[in-house]
């Protein structure tokens, strides 16, 4: 499959992916002499970054990280390329200094360690030749602070019995938004949707298939849902209660990508450890 990304640092490289599911600091996270990953949160600590396509959500920590990445490149033990979900200046600057191709705006949850992967930092493309992509839409419906989840019936092709947002495959070249509106009408009977947000695609991975989920948030004027054959149950839930349901993979990330973030809540203590994002892929 081929993923469109944002070019950050120029160049093109192919290699075996190494996925680190948490934000990564090059200071303390890697041995600057050998390129071995030291971070204890790593799926396989001790593996070397050398020659690998290193995928992680985003950088964190000291700005000295830029220099560490530069040093790795200079010693020939740096990564072949870097893929981030959201690039920040420390890693981006380091990649430029080190001459490591880099892209961002790719959900690294869709990549697994050991995938073969090509990164084009000039054109902004990531290719995973061994992985098949299925494009889907996911419509998050909101009414007075609650969102709709539906339980998938035994008649659908995947994830039977699990809770999900209203969703469906994108056919051919159709516009994802049109597909989302159509799915809402078919699966819930709800009308008069107001589009509130479009999220960056979330990649839900199952073995050799990646579901490229295009998230949409709609406000709906009513909670009167009329289900069709695709679902057997529905519930209007508070977003924070989603954890209680057996959901399709990455539903919380899909919803999080379109709901206004709660990140503006103040941090009470300066010494509280940084909140880490949830683990989203299994170790390869």
């Amino acid at each position: 499959m081929r993923i469109r990304a944002r070019p950050i640092a120029p160049g093109r490289a192919t290699g075996t992916a190494l996925v680190h599911p948490q934000p990564f600091s090059f200071v303390g996270g890697v041995d600057p002499r050998t390129g071995a990953v030291l971070d204890r949160g790593a799926p396989a600590p001790g593996l070397s970054l050398a020659g690998r396509v290193f995928a992680f959500p985003h950088g964190k920590g000291s700005t000295v990280g830029s220099y560490v990445l530069y040093g790795l490149g200079r010693r020939g033990v740096g990564p072949a390329a870097i893929v981030n979900s959201r690039a920040e200046a420390i890693v981006a600057v380091g990649a430029v200094l080190a001459g490591v191709p880099m892209v961002d705006r790719v959900d690294v949850g869709g990549i697994r360690s050991e995938d073969q992967i090509t990164v084009d930092g000039d054109r902004g493309v990531v290719e995973l030749p061994e992985v098949r992509a299925r494009a889907v839409v996911s419509a998050v419906l909101r009414n007075r602070g609650r969102i709709l989840i539906v339980r998938r019936s035994e008649a659908v092709g995947s994830f039977q019995g699990r809770w999900s947002a209203v969703s469906g495959y994108i056919e051919g070249r159709e516009d994802p938004r049109d597909r989302a509106v159509r799915e809402v009408r078919e699966e819930t009977g709800l009308r008069r949707l107001v589009l509130r947000a479009t999220g960056q695609p979330v990649l839900a991975r199952t073995d050799a298939t990646v579901y490229v989920v295009h998230p949409f948030l709609f406000d709906v004027p009513s909670r009167a849902v009329r289900l069709d054959w695709e679902n057997i149950d529905h519930a209007w839930v508070r977003p924070e209660d989603l954890g209680r349901y057996d959901t399709v993979p990455r539903l919380e990330d899909v919803i999080g990508s379109v709901l206004p973030s709660t990140a503006s809540t103040p941090t009470p203590s300066p010494r509280r450890p940084r909140k880490t994002i949830r683990k989203t892929v299994s170790p390869g």
Binding site: T63, V64, Y67, A89, A92, V93, S264, P266, S269
Partner: protein, 366 residues
Amino acid sequence: MRLLLTVARLSDADRLVPITSAHVSGASYKMIGDPGLEFLEDFARDARVRVPTTVNPLGTDLAQWRELGVPETFATKQRRIASAYETMGARPTYSCTPYDELPRPAFGEHLAWAESNAVCFANSVLGARTNREGGPSALAAAIVGATPDYGLHRDEGRQPTVIVDVHTRPRGIDFSLLGLVAGERAGDGLPYFRGFRGTEADLKWLGAALASSGSCAMFHLAGITPEARRARLQGLKVLSITRADLQETERRYSDGTDADLIAFGSPQLSAAELRDVATLLGRTPPRIPVWVFTSRAVREANPDSVAAIERHGGRVLADTCLEVTMLEHRFGTVATPSGKGAYYLPSLCHQKVILADVRDLLERYA
């Protein structure tokens, strides 16, 4: 140039803006280590700065590192970092208070400054314009003479995001405490303070603490700072800070019980602040070591204050500052009136901290 374009792309800036000066961080060997040294020496082979460029404090005072017990290898590598910057054409100021170096940036000038307290002071008090640059991006901007035009370079990026009503009259250390608590609550926002007044020196300590516990790059103070009048306040969330908040903050940042060093600085003291400390030490000479951090220029211009501090057993250190300096090899608990120092000493210097006002500290350790 490529590096600046990358930063520009990350921040959706569509052009670069010319700058009148740069201030680079990442000069302490303790902070940047061998990777930084290696990068700077490589870079210094052909890169030269195009605009006046000052440099942040080093990891020790190179004039007295032996007396401070700093290992020779550390001093040697520290000297190599300084030489690399000097080869590139930077001024060897090694100060975190570039706003006290001449010429001072004028209102509306665009800068590329790293060092969070200097950024906060330049934006808030001087009305100059700079984002919080990182060490490498400030250096790249110095070499190119321009920086990506986004954030605080643009009028809309200088508007407040939160109102902070202060229901007490801050004095002395209160400005550091106010900065710490406001930074925790404002995060990366841009606070608009109301309800108190302060001198330029007070706002230096407020901004330094604010930029440590939060990632604030600017604040407004109603009736005082130059751009407060342009601020649009409609619809902003209002936070309140009381005397009780300041007292709680002072307690929360004090985890030490018995200090073995009193430290003044972070940011480095101005000439007036150095004179005040000299006078206070004369009144209540302390029984534990006192380190006073200032810039080289201030130390050279004030030999009387320096002599007075040394007479009472203190040391006046230049070219370095509290949390980037080597002190962990000798001390375990530092007493300081600096909010920024109190914030960083535990993580960067493995110290316990006693955060208290200058006079209280000197009385306690007299």
